[in-house]
Amino acid sequence: MRTRLVILGVLVAGSAFATDHNNIDSGRPLRFDDAYSIAFRERAIELGLKFDTFRRSSPSYGLKAEYKVGFAKNQDIGIGFEPSYSTSDRRGDVGNVELSYFNGLRREIDNTPALAYRVDVGLPTGRGSRGADVRFRGIVTKTVGQYDRLHLNLDLTTSTQKTAGERQATAGLTVGYTKPLGYPTQFDRTLVAQFGIDQSRDTSRGWVGNVGLGIRQQMGVRSVLDFGIEADVFSSKGRNPAGLRFAVGYSVGF
């Protein structure tokens, strides 16, 4: 079940213009969203590869493929797949299927931030998965200073099937920060950073804090390359936080 949480936390379908370096999707490369859907009638494919983690002698590798459609103004839906391979188990897993819905409620107007929410459903198609996970995420995006933006993501996740030693519902909070790099001479790169805390599904563990840093680089008119690194930095109880996670991805809109 913890595996599914990681999927929901990091790899669910994203928001915004997936194929513009300035518009931020969860998982590409960090875990937060901005408050903008992809454009009406836009379709986007996002591909990502993640390594978890550098500290272990036998890391796991995960692939993410996601397809999104802007089916109405300010709204998109998506479906994502995440096959993975564990070097310690020496076997792969088709992974869970993620369905997502994003709704951008309002853009940033004057001093009022942009607001959005998204709902993700993780279907238990992966090996050993049981029950569906449902995550609700509220999103706030606010410009700070001239060009930088803050993104507040508040997550509430619940599962249709809980086992002993698991919490029925968990919460999480991520503060993302984006800063376009190169202005006013270059316009194709954005720095992304985050600080987040997530409540562990495992009742023996408490809150886990994480930080992340990454870059989104415009490659073509509708394609973006991203790479980022995340690390858990503290845990309120239970075992020590896990090591580094590295993600690289490529998104294209059409």
Binding site: F17, N74, G104, R106, E108, P180, Q186, F187
Partner: protein
């Protein structure tokens, strides 16, 4: 569900909403300012971002086939965005210095990819987000029409049919700008009008310089084989970067001025681009008007949008408005040019063109004899930043030769699917896109020049023409090298129109070529 979510967000928002309007004094403009119409469309107050994607098609981003052109076009996204952000953040004193340098640097070193204007001007779009919807949607039309023309593998007929579809696609959205001709003198007649170009002439020159690029390119592409497009851009791109960006003009470049062939075929699109560019000018002027309060500026921007929206002119027809000249619903156009609204001082087909003076658009720019009606056309000459229609190849050649610098001649041949592109170097030497091109030039009366001065794609085509025109049976086909040596001088039929420049209050002469 939604209300619960909003409650959560209310606790979490980073800052609460505060009105941006700090009031302000009511300047002397108040009594003359346009007032808010009762039928302002509801979408203008919609809080959604409402981003729209372009029409999915195989031609999208074909503009990149001409890399220098694509990059110059991508660079144009920077200018207004930087200037708007400067104005709304109270840094107007930097516009003609630091911001000019920044914009100019980008235009001279343009980006490889399109620029997100909202990201460049976040403060502006937080205040005027509704404007983004209109601009974005029109800019998409701009790019997609270019993409169609630069897309290889389609016939001209297929491309033109697709352009029509794009226009329908564009027009289906509430943010669409009208394709009707609008009276430009009226649109530039408000208390705030001309403020920006007066106070910030260098930056305004950059804006109008890239509006030149955005309009001159269509005749470079229209019915021109894709393999013959890039060579023209070597000339136009150099003109753009060295001259057009810094030229102080009397008025913004009009699409039908810069691309007359395209504007005749797609007048609604030419009009929409002109109306878009005038909306840009209106917004520039409003933001540059210190007498206006924040609230007045917001109202005036909304009213400026309203004026040019298609929804404001439903069921109105091109050419209508004679009973209400110089008003919002004046859709008259020059009889020969349905793709251009009435300009200041215009009388029928006679209009003032910045840099050219008074011109009769229904007549050959070189011999002043009326252009033929209908689809038949002789040639156009693009040189020194202007594009003019002429009746025949002889007029085109001689007009290009009279003009310093490089020139592009686009001319009809006997094959409607094969356009002749002649590009001159600084010395007047011409290169052709049709290797075997031959010319007919049996000098005669100018009113019949389009009959005896023509281009043919081959000697065989020339001879075929002779069979159908026995009066030309003695004519010899001229090679490009022989033909370019000819020069018949300024025709005696040429008539210069001598009138004052309507944009100058000192009665300065309108000049002429």
């Amino acid at each position: 569900m939604k209300s619960t979510f909003l409650s959560v967000l209310a606790l979490a928002v980073i800052s609460t909403a505060t009105a941006q309007d700090h009031g302000g004094h009511m300047g002397g403009m108040k009594s003359n300012l346009p007032t808010m119409p009762a039928d302002m469309p509801r979408w203008i107050n919609s809080p959604g971002a409402d981003h729209l994607f372009y029409k999915a098609a195989p031609y999208n981003w074909a503009i990149n086939r001409i890399p220098a052109f694509a990059r110059d076009m991508y660079g144009t996204g920077v200018g207004h965005a930087m200037a708007y952000e400067t104005l709304v953040t109270g840094r107007k004193d930097q516009l003609e210095t630091r911001i000019f340098d920044s914009i100019n640097r980008v235009l001279q070193n343009p980006p490889r990819n399109p620029v997100d204007e909202v990201a460049l001007s976040p403060t502006f779009f937080r205040k005027y987000g509704y404007l983004e919807k209109v601009f974005d949607w029109a800019h998409i039309l701009h790019f997609q029409t270019i993409d169609v023309f630069t897309h290889p593998g389609w016939t001209d007929a297929q491309k033109e049919a697709e352009i029509e579809k794009l226009w329908q696609f564009y027009s289906a959205q509430p943010y669409a700008i009208t394709g009707l001709p609008m009276n430009m003198e009226y649109l530039d007649s408000f208390p705030y009008s001309m403020r920006f170009r007066t106070n910030y002439p260098k930056v305004n020159a950059l804006f109008w310089g890239y509006h030149w690029l955005q309009t001159v390119n269509y005749d470079m592409l229209f019915r021109v084989p894709v393999q013959d497009q890039a060579a023209q851009y070597e000339v136009l791109g150099a003109q753009y970067r060295t001259t057009e960006l810094y030229k102080i003009r009397d008025f913004m470049p009009m699409t039908a001025e810069m691309s007359p062939r395209f504007a005749k075929r797609f007048p609604m699109i030419a009009n929409a681009f002109d109306n878009l560019h005038m909306l840009h000018d209106n917004v520039n002027d409003i933001l540059a008007s210190d007498e206006l309060s924040e609230s007045q500026k917001r109202d005036q921007v909304k009213i400026a949008i309203y004026r040019v929206l298609a929804s404001t002119h439903v069921d109105e027809e091109p050419g209508s408005g004679e009973d209400a000249p110089g008003t919002l619903h004046d859709h008259r156009h020059a009889p020969s040019t349905p793709g251009m609204g009435y300009m200041k001082g215009m009388e029928d087909d006679v209009m003032f063109m910045s840099g050219m003076g008074w011109m009769d658009m229904s007549a050959c720019a070189h011999c002043s004899i009326p252009l033929p009606d209908g689809p038949m056309w002789g040639a156009t000459v693009t040189a020194d930043g202007w594009t003019m229609m002429v009746r025949c190849l002889m007029c085109a050649r001689d007009m290009a030769a009279e003009t310093p610098g490089r020139a592009i001649i686009r001319a009809a041949t006997e094959d409607p699917s094969k356009i002749l592109i002649l590009i001159s170097d600084e010395e007047g030497n011409l290169t052709s896109n049709i290797p075997g091109v031959v010319f007919l030039e049996e000098f005669g009366e100018h009113p019949e020049c389009s009959a005896w001065s023509r281009a043919f794609t081959s000697k065989a085509a020339f001879e075929q023409f002779q069979k159908g025109n026995p009066e030309m049976k003695e004519a010899k086909p001229l090679s490009l090298e022989a033909w370019v040596q000819l020069n018949q001088g300024t025709p005696e039929t040429y008539r210069k129109i001598d009138k004052p420049n309507p944009y100058k209050s000192d009665g300065a002469n309108g000049g002429g070529k």
